[in-house]
Amino acid sequence: MPALRIENLKKSYGTVPVLKGINLAVENGDVVAVIGRSGSGKSTMLRCINGLEPFQEGSIVVAGHRLDQSRANLRDLRKEVGMVFQSYNLFPHLSVAENIMLAPRVVKGLPRDQRELLVRDVLSRVGLAEKASAYPDELSGGQQQRVAIARSLAMKPKVMLFDEVTSALDPELTGEVLKTIAELAEAGMTMVLVTHEMGFARRVATRTVFMHEGKIWEEGPSAQIFAHPATPELRSFIATDLK
């Protein structure tokens, strides 16, 4: 069974269709980059996967949880599907450790001693072991984003979603976040990344999906997508990025 299967996903805002029938399957261990112009629906699709956006038609099965228009059992799904946002969205009133512990504590009821081990484990995976007691506003953007990744990892998700996680960062801070994601990819995490980092998509993603006008326009192994784009839209998109 694939880690994620999207079937005929349709969504519109009022009368404006944004997703016009998406079909996508992601296998365990896949790293899928979703690229495309702003407004092509890529972030909306990602946000549908963990129920942040309702949709009108179609279904999504992710980590064994089925999500449709009824939005039942959304919390069970979210326990196993992590999400990292463009603007980090750390809780500013909580320390790094508290940010990480909150959901394992209140959602999963993890006891204290295990929580501390967990914080140490996930923080070391993002290279911030010494920052447990810092507050978000004391960290750089790149560090905050790595904490957000650690917070998501602490729920031991089966699938992780990344929504343009480096778009708010300076170029020199982008690198440290991408490195963290690449390490997760190597460790076998199943991931879907909406990204503007073409080089990163080409290097790290096993597959790349190009979205255009609310549809999946082209998809395939990253190497092939970037080296031999089949459609003129993707060719022009890749060409604009190189300029």
């Binding site: 963990n50 326990k79 969205n89 809780f91 009133h93 909150l102 506003d137």
Partner: protein, 218 residues
């Protein structure tokens, strides 16, 4: 009975001050409890409940406090519910404080960015957990300054209850003035007592607001 302003007069006024503070605390506690419930209903309740609460807030905010007090004291007694001045004062002030605190706190809840709600959602927190651990603690910090500021308003507005004969600080001043005919002594002392209560609150409120603006920028 004419007496001159002296130590006994100050003691008499101090007694009035205690009632002023007592009524303020009672107002703040009642108004705070209902204000919080109303703020949550206004910010997060179903549409019909939001409209009812919004209507309540608009209505009370557009009514002079004195009219609320007269309604509670004369109006309700006319309708067969007699409340002594203290109860009528506490009820009307609580109705008034509920409306204002609900409005202040609703604003604070709504000031928490949408992205914080989403982050809590994405971590599988339930609706209650999301409020309890993510939204309300942040809203609380924003709310502290304006809330303490509003406490100053409550303390000063308790003086209006003098008009239904509740002997708090202002009414005590009136009574004392009738006995001494020394209005400057009497009402300057009354003003000094109000200042002694309100100034520390104002100062604290400003401190709390400063701390907020020095906090995280995002």
């Amino acid at each position: 009975m004419i007496q001159s302003f002296g130590w006994q007069s100050v003691q008499f006024l101090f007694h009035g001050l205690i009632w002023t503070v007592g009524l303020s605390v009672c107002t703040f506690v009642c108004g705070g409890i209902f204000g919080l419930i109303f703020a949550l209903a206004r910010a997060l309740g179903p549409r019909w409940l939001q409209l009812i609460v919004a209507g309540y807030i608009q209505l009370v905010q557009a009514t002079p406090l004195l009219i609320l007090i007269f309604l509670a004291f004369y109006g309700l007694s006319f309708a067969g519910f007699y409340f002594p001045p203290l109860a009528a004062a506490a009820i009307s002030l609580s109705i008034y404080a509920t409306a204002f605190l609900a409005d202040i706190w609703r604003g604070c809840i709504e000031a928490i960015p949408r992205t914080q709600w989403e982050a809590a959602d994405a971590l599988a927190l339930s609706r209650i957990q999301r409020l309890r651990y993510v939204i309300l603690p942040q809203a609380f910090r924003i709310a502290l300054g304006p809330t303490v500021g509003f406490m100053v308003q409550i303390v000063k507005n308790t003086s209006v209850t003098a008009l239904i004969g509740f002997v708090e600080l202002t009414r005590a001043g009136q009574l004392l003035n009738n006995m001494t005919f020394q209005p400057f002594h009497v009402f300057l002392t009354v003003a000094a007592f109000y200042f002694a209560v309100c100034y520390p609150l104002s100062w604290w409120s400003e401190k709390l607001k400063e701390r907020k603006s020095a906090g995280p920028a995002h």
